[in-house]
């Protein structure tokens, strides 16, 4: 197969299990029907997992991510706070 742009020969490569054609001259890539979607799917699997979603909180709230005092949830002071006016 020849590159439709520069007419150099195209070679078939396997990228993450998806067959793609790349031009040996201009390095352009030719994707068959469905191959772009297949690559997108593969990319999504590789992406880092999304950061943990917290329930909505007010702007004046404590910053999330390691700053909470949940580790000290048994903290005597918070225990008292839970039970008093």
């Amino acid at each position: 197969m020849q590159c439709p742009k520069c007419h150099a020969p195209m070679h078939t490569y396997n990228r993450n299990g998806v067959q793609i054609e790349q031009c040996s001259g201009c390095r352009g890539i030719f994707l068959d029907y469905g191959e772009l979607e297949a690559l997108t799917r593969v990319e999504a699997q590789w992406a880092q997992p999304a950061p943990q979603a917290y329930p909505a909180a007010p702007a004046w709230g404590a910053p999330h991510g390691g700053h909470g005092h949940y580790d000290h949830h048994r903290h005597k002071s918070f225990g008292h706070m839970l039970f008093s006016s």
Partner: protein, 313 residues
């Protein structure tokens, strides 16, 4: 004050045993459940609890509040008698004993039950003439106690956050809208199981109950979550259960904070004020949890409150 406790104990005993001087084998005879000088004194004898309400409690208001409890036995613990008696100048009421949440295991807190009870309370009709819910008044009292300390380095951000609240949240003007039946002082000490052990959870303590913004009753857990004290999953369980039961304080979906912002700020400020007062009295620095609440007040200073539901004034 000292005369009240023995008199109250004797009254509780007399409520259980018709004949004076009877030897009894009741569980927890003459047990003192609470004895807070300027607030309520509560004693237990067997299955009966006698509560001497705070000095200066309004008799007419208390009677209406007791009527609400008697009419909503599926939500509030019903009094044994809806009419208070007077003892040493204090109003005294009688209640069945219920088992409270174990303070040693806050992780086992019945968040879903609490949320469901609140949703049902908020949906119930308020009787005519019922006074305002006393949440804002309690916050204002905490601020008065803080001001009485005089200069304290942690007081300034707390007072600034207080000053930024709308007048209704500072108990300086009537609540402009959202007139629902509210508990007024929800925390984990306000839940008991009755009958003991096997019974369903019920809300207790009607002293602050009244009409007001129902978001106030959600605002303590909301404030604890916002301050990074209550884990997100416990807050989510509480909020989801409230919505599931059709509670009117927050929209059924989406961001609840436009409705919660002002009450949660007020309760954060109240908690911070009392924490500063307490640490000052004990001559110790703020601990980590108390500091987290004061820090939230500091951050509030840079972010004006949400103006919601016509409650802006």
């Amino acid at each position: 004050m000292n005369a009240l406790l023995p008199a109250l104990t004797a009254t509780a005993r007399a409520a259980v045993h018709a004949k004076p001087g009877t030897n009894c084998c009741c569980p927890a005879p003459d047990a003192v459940l609470a004895d807070r000088g300027d607030d309520a004194t509560v004693v237990r004898h067997g299955n009966t609890v006698a509560k001497a309400h705070a000095p200066g409690a309004d008799p007419a208001g208390l009677s209406l509040r007791l009527t609400v409890a008697a009419r909503l036995p599926g939500v509030l613990l019903a009094p044994l008698d809806p009419t208070p008696v007077t003892l040493h100048g204090r109003l005294v009421t009688f209640w069945p004993y219920g088992i409270p949440v174990d303070p040693e295991t806050p992780r086992a807190a019945p968040w879903e039950a609490a949320a469901g009870l609140l949703a049902r309370l908020h949906r119930a009709p308020a009787p005519a003439g019922l006074p305002a819910m006393r949440g804002p008044a309690k916050a204002a009292r905490a601020i008065r106690r803080l001001r009485a300390l005089g200069h304290h380095p942690a007081a300034a951000p707390v007072l600034r956050a207080w000053a930024a609240l709308p007048a209704w949240a500072r108990a300086e003007s009537p609540l402009p809208s959202a007139r629902h039946l509210c508990h007024g002082d929800l925390h984990l000490g306000q839940l008991v199981r009755h009958p003991v052990d096997t019974g369903p959870w019920r809300l207790i303590d009607v002293d602050d109950l009244g009409v007001g913004d129902p978001a106030w009753d959600l605002a303590r857990p909301a404030a604890w979550y916002a301050c990074g004290l209550l884990p997100p999953d416990e807050w989510t369980r509480f909020l989801a259960a409230y919505r599931q039961e059709g509670g009117p304080a927050v929209p059924t979906a989406g961001d609840p904070w436009p409705a919660l912002d002002v009450p949660a700020r007020a309760l954060t400020v109240q908690t911070a004020a009392l924490a500063v007062v307490k640490s000052f009295a004990a001559e110790r620095p703020l601990d980590e949890v108390e500091q987290a609440v004061v820090d939230a007040c500091v951050r509030m200073g840079t972010i004006p409150p949400e103006l919601t539901r016509g409650c802006a004034t």
